[in-house]
């Protein structure tokens, strides 16, 4: 049965939407310096949503033959959900053309992934560290969205992800890369992980109250909490600390932009999973909160427009999420000049950050005290603080930008306290 046939049949009961995704991933998994396994996944799944006078239901299923049962469930559920007055599925609009698929990635086979793994492992070994477990994987997905209001969107995307973990004694290191093109050097990633493990094996606990530089990995983890505070649904429910703060200065001088259109980036897409075109938007401009983000249902509830941020994760319901994030800060300088500061590389226990107050107590997994010519590795002490404070007190950013998954950011220099 075609998606259009499914749509027509569902439309007998109200506004309908069919989402379909199919894809394939291949993975080379390594352990120590050997290839543990080759893995492949071929998957597909449907999502059916019905909207009957603002009452919306959702069913997901893997196989086409489940459609009749899915439709029956969807129809029944619309009788029981709370209505959202004036709600409609989105209408057809034009989409920005975004580069999300490359031929070179699509042509990668298991043997290519093995070669990438072995190159990375060689890089780790060159530093005197040992490789740990990890994997290199390539994925390709095709997405289709059709609804009763004319949305008829399809797209394909692919990408490669590399993770290299290394150890030396009780020290460990890690580096990774995600991209839609072959723009990486596996040996260098392996070397980065290896060097980090060697350095980390000599690390000691240390108390500190002073300048702290944050690695992009840490900024990424901190932003995953902060960006929940601009989630339109959290704001509607008044559970976000930034409720009522639109237009106000909330985070020092940081500028945070969501850019779904960066070519071949992991989060890039021209549409969200409801068929709403994505937009490039400034979330914070020099610390001033510029917008909240919405899916269609939340937007209707608060009489706003969807910002193209309704996404599905696996077979789950639509939830509000961001794509690629770009961080900027007005004052930049080379990190070579950063002295008497601890560069924090990785922390443990991000999921224990208090998501409402921003308070955190995180164990330092890897840090380096820069003191003149000396580099002194640090670990095991505890970074205590508050996300608002740490990000509001940023004084400087590195001249260079760095990529970390779907984030582009400089290192940020702020102040903080480590306790032993």
């Amino acid at each position: 049965m075609s998606l259009e046939s499914m749509l027509r049949r569902a439309e007998r009961f109200g506004e309908a939407e069919i989402f379909f995704m199919k894809g394939r991933t291949i993975e080379a998994r390594y352990n120590r310096d050997m290839i543990e396994a080759g893995l492949e996944k071929i998957f597909q799944g449907y999502g059916l949503r019905l909207n009957v006078k603002g009452r919306v239901s959702m069913v997901s299923f893997d196989l086409e033959k489940e459609f009749d049962r899915a439709l029956k469930s969807a129809v029944k559920m619309t009788k029981y959900t709370e209505p959202v007055k004036g709600y409609h599925f989105p209408e057809k609009k034009d989409y920005q053309k975004v580069k999300t698929w490359s031929k070179q990635v699509s042509e990668l086979e298991f043997a290519d992934l093995v070669n990438i793994v072995l190159e990375g492992i060689d890089g780790i070994k060159e530093t005197g560290a040992e490789p740990m477990q990890g994997e290199v994987s390539v994925s390709e997905t095709h997405t289709y969205i059709e609804n009763s209001n004319g949305v008829n969107f399809s797209d394909k995307e692919n990408g490669i992800s590399l993770g290299f973990g290394a150890k030396r004694g009780t020290g460990s290191g890690f580096d990774f890369w995600e991209s839609g093109v072959l723009d990486f050097a596996p040996r260098e990633l392996g070397k980065n992980a290896g060097r980090e493990a060697v350095e980390n094996s000599k690390a000691k606990k240390m108390g500190w109250d002073g300048k702290i530089a944050l690695h992009p990995d840490i900024i990424d983890e901190f932003l995953s909490v902060i960006l929940d505070w601009i989630d339109g649904d959290e704001v509607r429910r008044k559970t976000s600390p930034w409720t009522g703060k639109l237009g106000k200065k909330v985070l020092g001088e940081l500028t945070i932009v969501e850019d779904p259109w960066i070519p071949y980036f992991p989060g890039s897409t021209s549409s969200d999973d409801e068929g709403v075109p994505t937009k490039k938007k400034v979330l914070l401009d020099k610390g001033v909160l510029k917008t909240f983000i919405y899916d269609t249902i939340t937007a209707t509830k608060v009489r706003a427009e969807s910002t193209g941020n309704g996404f599905r994760h696996g077979g789950s319901k639509i939830s509000i999420d961001v794509t690629n994030i770009v961080v900027d800060f007005p004052d930049r300088e080379s990190m070579d000049g950063w002295d008497n500061c601890i560069v924090l590389r990785s922390l443990m226990g991000y999921h224990t950050i208090n998501e409402k107050t921003g308070d955190f107590t995180l164990t330092v997994d890897h840090g380096i005290l820069i003191n003149g010519e000396k580099r002194i590795p640090v670990k095991g002490c505890v970074f205590v603080g508050n996300l608002f404070d740490v990000l509001s007190q940023v004084e400087l950013a590195s001249k260079e930008d760095y990529r970390w998954g779907d984030l582009i950011t400089p290192y940020l220099l702020t102040r903080g306290r480590l306790v032993t």
Partner: protein, 452 residues
């Protein structure tokens, strides 16, 4: 069990290889999200899949499809991947008893009712709550799964498992000049009888959200502490359990790698992983390698007694699998994972633990923790805590965290409660694979923890 394929033929094909195994799963899932009493989302999903793993000359190949009818292609791809490996690990599997068995857990109250009836039960739960004015938002999330899993392998194993798994979670958010939340989660291999298990726990979470608005920040420094059963369970899982997973031992990435048979904690410490807890959230009949789930003693009276194994790690360390090979669904490669992990009960009452504490902290539940098994450093955050003074539980504390090396904590355990409550429901996310796990335990008294 209907997977739409010829299982005899699949079994015969698997037997052609040095080692091959198939895991098939069919599941039906219902979800209800209630927002402040209103049904915000209802969702139904039906999922199916087959994962086949082969081992050829020490090399694993694994393939998965959402359509089990494609099993021949899946098997072919798995074989192709195993054979294409230029630098195999020379993996082997331990020799284990081969089972042909059915493992069935039936819900006491059937899940075969419509989703709107389930939504009605969630609404009743909400209506039973007394909600203080400071509590501005209550979300109740209910999910149930009816699963049928089938396992076959080259050695002739043929195991079917049918079970329900349900979880109900409440989040209460209170607001004054700041926003703060409290949570409670209940889960297990239950049917709709899960609603009978709530028993005041959700009301307690709602009250906690309100009370947290007035709670003081926990002090920093070294204090004696009592971990409540859930906190003790999460500590047993995060800090100790991960370091006892044999893949960490084999890879040399656990601080416990050369400590088997040695004392690593006080005589009061006995820690167990047990997949056979009746209706435990992390319980199962057989793991993803066809080995029965079992009770494994990790630490006994302070001495490290064993690790959790898959067939691969058991072979490498010359022992038997403990039935801990689990995967986040049949689309994933099995790893060594915990089931229900907890401190074994001791000899003391909670009152006896409290009486010797002049100044200390009662650690209430957990929002999570993490450990570096290689160094033993851990980080733990409680939902909240209470100040203990002269043997009495006093005012509420927020932002209660403690950290350090878990071996120090194990040596500092001085008393363990004589009651055991295993009933926690959580998800463990090792290597990005989420599996249901249970925890709990007795109250545990630690003479010194580093707070803040």
């Amino acid at each position: 069990m209907d997977f739409g394929l010829d299982l005899d033929k699949l079994q015969r094909e698997l037997e052609r290889y040095e080692f091959a195994e198939a895991n098939l799963l069919r599941s039906w899932r219902n979800k209800v999200l209630l927002e402040n009493g209103n049904v915000r989302d209802l969702m139904v999903s039906a999922n199916v899949g087959i994962g086949i793993r082969v081992l050829i000359k020490g090399s694993f190949g694994f393939s998965f499809s959402t359509d089990p009818r494609n099993w021949e292609l899946v098997l072919k791809e798995a074989v192709k991947l195993a054979k294409a490996n230029p630098r195999p690990m020379r993996s082997k599997l331990s020799k284990e008893k081969v089972y042909q068995d059915k493992w069935v857990v039936r819900p006491r109250k059937s899940l075969d009712v419509s989703i709107d009836e389930k939504a009605g039960l969630v609404q009743e739960t909400y209506r039973s709550l007394e909600i203080p004015s400071k509590v501005k938002d209550i979300q109740i999330y209910y999910v149930d799964v009816k699963a049928k899993r089938l396992y076959l392998n080259t050695e002739g194993a043929f195991i079917s498992q049918s079970y329900p798994r349900t979880r109900i979670f409440l989040s209460a958010t209170a607001k004054s000049n700041f926003v703060i939340s409290a949570f409670e989660s209940i889960g297990g291999l239950y049917g709709l009888e899960i609603f009978d298990k709530i028993d005041g726990k959700f009301q307690e979470a709602v009250n906690n959200a309100k009370n947290l608005l007035k709670a003081k920040r926990a002090p920093a420094g070294k204090y004696p502490a009592i971990l409540d059963p859930h906190a003790a369970g999460v500590f047993a899982h995060e800090a100790v359990g991960h370091a006892c997973e044999a893949d960490e031992i084999v890879n040399g990435t656990s601080i416990l790698k050369d400590k088997l048979g040695k004392r690593i904690g006080s005589e009061h410490v006995t820690i167990i992983d047990d997949a056979t807890i009746p209706r435990g959230y992390g319980s199962y009949g057989y793991d993803y390698e066809g080995v029965p789930g079992q009770r494994t003693v990790l630490i006994e009276s302070g001495v490290l007694k064993g690790f959790m194994h898959s067939r691969e790690t058991a072979s490498e360390l010359g022992t038997r699998s403990t039935g801990n090979a689990r995967a986040g669904g049949v689309s994933r490669f099995p790893l060594v994972r915990m089931s229900n992990t907890f401190f074994e009960k001791g000899d003391y009452s909670l009152e006896e633990m409290l009486e010797d504490i002049k100044e200390g902290v009662y650690i209430y539940s957990s929002t999570g923790g993490s450990t570096d098994p290689n160094s033993g450093f851990f980080q733990f955050t409680a939902q909240h805590g209470y100040w203990i003074e002269d043997g009495e539980i006093k005012q509420m504390l927020r932002d209660v965290t403690f950290s350090g090396n878990f071996l120090d904590i194990l040596h500092n355990v001085e008393k363990v409660e004589k009651d055991l409550k295993v009933g926690g429901a959580g998800l463990c996310g090792k290597f990005g694979q989420s599996v249901p796990v249970g925890d709990g335990g007795p109250h545990v008294f630690v003479k010194e923890v580093l707070l803040g």
